[in-house]
């Protein structure tokens, strides 16, 4: 959601942060608040982010969720840097679900997604730390009767430099709370950073190597039952009938819950619940989509290429340029339906009582989950408590809370807490899918072979219309068209959007890399085709088009250099390049493939160079880019769901494979040093993978691929 980034950055620049500091429950509580100019005077609603207790660790409340991306580490580092404490003096705790207080500063809701967490908290978290440090120093100076300027802070203590006297922060909280809160305390320049940009171990991982980390599925409220669920296989279909007797005969099964569109079997353990569910012969009303096939949907998406388009981006005069320059390339790129297959299947544990509701779940949208539970149960929202757990992968799937809604509906028919567990098959067949995408790209070349016009028509759903309406403007989903205009200098450019929705009842959502993942294959495939037509080396061609984009050009050169671009890759081998400017960051990727005459494809190596601005933690950054690449590889090679008789056909890793260790290429990530504001990294690695591979296959075989996944293409005889 780098479209998020643009809007967010614009709004951030108009706002300032107000830091509130109070004594609450014996602790010094520091609350950074984002305030617009009109609300600058209103600082009554306090959102505690940091608590400094009289003794013990400093508590940092994390409004975002940890799903592997290292957010606990990242935010702790920002605070520790300015507060002058060691990382091990901070304990990170999950914020409660409360969007009114814990909304992300750029997104306006309590959402973890779009690669914006660090970007959003980069300023306020450091500002809060600096403000608190300044007050603690002032408190100590007052205590000692010296000037604050003669004191410094270090590792959670204030030190009077001349005398060597020391006071721990905890001993200063009472006095600090009585002091005026200074605003606009100067932040450290990057040259003085002790923690930011330095390697440091993640703080969330020790619990993840010994089995003690608690994910959603590990919630174990007392007396909990376990439920297996079958949701109507056709989108929008309903339950017709089910005889519960066969399930009730299974040892440990307690109850069969009927919902309008699902059946759940509740038991003493998940094994019995699954066995009971499998024993049922459920009759479904297949509904309006009962005969749907993937072929129908593919044809419908193709037809939408000629549908009514809205102009999302317009520069120069594309019509005139096309009229003057007939030479160029026109191509259609087609992307399939994708599941997320987070490693932890969907699940949610719920306890509905007359006076309240507890929900244990790993979600990227805790606030929405809480509101949904309140709406379903009729309870006031304050009576719903979301116990957010570690997420066993997010990738955008847990930005939707359909799972919470389903689990609450089951729990309303169960006495006591119940953990509703999706089988992997249910998880795949009831996802919030990355829906079909079509791109028609039309690039015209001038006499020198360089592009003079760029027309990119994008066919896709408008997810933001429901998900984040602020990003749905004038009929255009600003995320779906994100990066469709390319980073290249072309005098005339136009991006057109044709809204094309999935059938009713089929949930479509955000998938790692969001809009840019949809657009990168056409953008980077298209420019590669243009370079080929012009007879110019693909890297050199791109370089010539980046005169106004020095950061992009620099990462291209870095990646090309490390990949050995220009040197012979060897027999049956080829290299392909792809660029991406999105999420406030820049990435260049070079893939090397080996295609044997029998059609066997091996991805040998991927070299990535990234410029994400200032780096908070270099190793977490590398992890995220590696992760994005592997996620992109799985999709590029294998990702594709099909539909027959209204239902998703694939269901598990045997028929919807993902990358395994033996297929994983060498991955080299090179990070550009930068002092610019931090950009996003979580989604940055994914979009470029598919086009880099497609371009590499072209280099190796002369076959120009324009559809994914690659496994549906016969490469024999190349």
């Amino acid at each position: 959601m780098s479209a998020f980034a643009r809007i967010g950055t614009a709004s951030l620049s108009r706002r300032t942060f107000l830091i509130s500091v109070v004594l609450a429950g014996g602790s010094l509580v520091i609350a950074p608040r984002l305030v617009g100019p009109a609300q600058a005077a209103d600082a009554t609603a306090l959102t505690p982010f940091i608590r400094i207790p009289p003794a013990g660790k400093i508590e940092l409340v994390i409004a975002s969720v940890e799903m592997g991306q290292g957010v606990y580490m990242g935010l702790s580092t920002l605070l520790a840097e300015e507060l002058e404490v060691r990382l091990n003096q901070i304990v990170a705790v999950a914020a409660p679900a409360d969007p009114a207080r814990y909304a992300h500063p750029m997104l306006g809701d309590q959402i973890t997604g779009g690669s914006v967490t660090i970007r959003g908290f980069w300023e306020p978290m450091r500002q809060a730390g600096a403000t608190a440090r300044s007050m603690l120093i002032a408190a100590a100076a007052d205590e000692w009767g010296v000037a604050p300027a003669t004191c410094r802070a270090e590792a959670g203590e204030v030190i009077h430099t001349a005398s060597g006297r020391r006071l721990a922060y905890g001993a200063l909280v009472d006095k600090a709370a009585t002091l005026p809160v200074p605003q606009g305390v100067a932040l450290k320049p990057a040259s003085e950073f002790q923690l930011i940009g330095k390697p440091a171990r993640r703080i969330d991982t020790p619990a993840k190597v010994n089995g003690s980390a608690k994910f959603g599925l590990d919630a174990r409220p007392a007396e909990a039952k376990f439920a297996a669920i079958a949701i109507c296989p056709t989108f929008g279909g309903t339950l017709q009938s089910v005889d519960e007797a066969p399930a009730l005969k299974v040892k440990g099964v307690r109850k069969v819950v009927r919902l309008s569109d699902a059946v759940a079997v509740v038991a003493d353990h998940t094994g019995a619940a699954r066995k009971g569910l499998a024993a049922l012969d459920i009759a479904w009303n297949r509904g309006a989509n009962g005969d749907l096939t993937i072929g129908e949907l593919e044809r419908s998406a193709d037809a939408a290429l000629d549908g009514t388009a809205r102009v999302a981006f317009d520069q120069g005069d594309v019509d005139a340029a096309e009229a003057r320059h007939p030479r160029g390339i026109e191509a259609i790129y087609r992307l399939p339906i994708l599941p997320h297959t987070t490693m932890e299947p969907m699940n949610c544990t719920v306890h509905v009582r007359p006076d309240g509701c507890d929900v244990w779940v790993g979600t990227q949208v805790a606030g929405r989950a809480r509101q949904a539970a309140a709406d379903l149960t009729g309870l006031p929202v304050e009576k719903v408590v979301i116990h957010n757990q570690f997420l066993g992968g997010g990738f955008g799937r847990r930005l939707d809370h359909d799972v919470v809604i389903m689990a609450v509906r089951v729990a309303q028919q169960v006495d006591g807490p119940v953990q509703v567990v999706w089988s992997r098959e249910e998880d795949v067949r009831h996802d919030s899918y990355r829906y079909l995408n079509r791109s028609r790209i039309d690039i015209r070349l001038g006499p020198d072979g360089m592009p003079v016009s760029w027309r990119h028509r994008v066919v896709g759903p408008a997810i933001m219309a429901r998900f984040l309406p602020v990003l749905f403007k004038d009929g255009i989903d600003l995320d779906i068209v994100d990066a469709a205009e390319s980073p290249y200098d072309v005098a005339s450019k136009r991006v057109e959007f044709v809204r094309h929705e999935a059938p009713d009842g089929m949930l479509t959502g955000n998938w790692r890399g969001v809009g840019p993942t949809r657009n990168a294959p056409a953008v980077e495939g298209g420019i590669d085709e243009a370079a080929h037509l012009a007879g110019i080396d693909p890297v050199e061609y791109r370089r010539r088009l980046l005169g106004n984009n020095p950061r992009m050009k620099a990462v291209l050169d870095l990646a090309a250099d490390h990949a050995g671009w220009g040197r012979d890759p060897g027999a049956e081998r080829g290299r392909g390049v792809a660029l991406l400017s999105a999420f406030g960051s820049f990435a260049a990727m070079v893939a090397q493939v080996h295609v044997r005459p029998d059609g066997t494809l091996k991805v040998e190596r991927i070299v990535a160079a990234v410029d994400c601005g200032l780096v908070v933690n270099p190793d977490v950054l590398r992890q995220q880019v590696e992760s994005g690449i592997v996620y992109g590889l799985s999709a590029a090679l294998y990702g594709r769901l099909t539909i027959e008789q209204g239902a998703i056909v694939e269901g598990n890793f045997d028929d919807q494979p993902v990358l395994r260790m033996n297929e994983c290429p060498l991955i080299d990530v090179h990070v550009m040093a930068s002092a610019e504001a931090p950009g996003g990294i979580g989604e940055l690695g994914t979009p470029g993978v598919a086009p880099a591979l497609m371009n590499a296959i072209f280099a190796a075989t002369g076959k120009r691929l324009r559809s994914l996944p690659l496994a549906t293409t016969d490469l024999r005889g190349s």
């Binding site: 694939e650 045997d654 028929d655 016969d714």
Partner: protein, 219 residues
């Protein structure tokens, strides 16, 4: 395999399972070139059906060809692969996850056959695969007994060759085919899997009659 279509409206017509074979990453299969195809139906003729063939060597070859419906069926041949990696399913696709059975035929420490294949079939209610096959001593046939990629005649000659059949006499072969519990598994393969044609008894009788008629091999 359907060829990639650059500009057609529906580029994805090939079925996913079949199409995935086109890109076999790191695990070569060569399935498309296999000479043996699985039998079309589940029937197996008895020895009596071959009495009308008077010439013993012709009868012997016919008996073996009939017995080969079992031998070359997916339940048997999936674990007699050309490489040290088993195949799966009636289409004999590469085993998922990828398995290196190694010299021992049992896999390697950390991921061996018994990591998943227990002493009997494990039913997986609600899953597409139906069950995980299992039997005591589940393992891959030795490399010398690879059948995939061979003609019927080549399989036959290998079966008779003590240097490649584990030092077995023809009587041992008959005993193995008619009584071995791993062979027997082919007729009780668990939910989600088509059994081998006929019965082990009929199969054993065919092998016995083949031996009795000279154990002739098809060319």
């Amino acid at each position: 395999m359907r060829r990639f279509q650059e500009v057609s409206g529906v580029a994805f017509a090939a079925c996913a399972a079949e199409a995935l074979l086109a890109v076999t990453l790191a695990v070569g299969s060569g399935l498309a070139d296999d000479k043996i195809q699985p039998p079309a139906d589940g029937t197996l003729k008895g020895v009596a059906d071959f009495q009308s063939i008077g010439e013993p060597s012709a009868r012997s070859r016919a008996l073996f060809t009939e017995a080969a419906k079992v031998i070359t069926g997916p339940r048997c041949i999936n674990c007699h692969p050309a490489t040290r990696s088993p195949t799966q399913g009636d289409d004999r696709h590469p085993h998922r996850p990828p398995i290196q059975a190694g010299e021992s035929g049992m896999g390697v420490a950390g991921l061996n056959c018994h990591s998943c294949h227990r002493f009997k079939n494990t039913s997986l209610p609600g899953s597409r695969v139906g069950s995980i096959p299992g039997a005591e001593h589940w393992l891959l046939a030795p490399a010398s007994m690879a059948w995939q990629g061979l003609t019927l005649g080549e399989i036959c000659r290998q079966l008779k060759d003590p240097a490649r059949n584990g030092g077995r006499s023809l009587a041992d072969i008959h005993k193995h085919m008619s009584t071995d519990h791993l062979v027997a598994w082919a007729w009780q393969p668990g939910a989600g899997r088509r059994p081998a044609p006929g019965t082990q008894e009929v199969f054993g009788a065919l092998i016995e009659a083949w031996i009795a008629t000279g154990a002739e091999c098809p060319s």
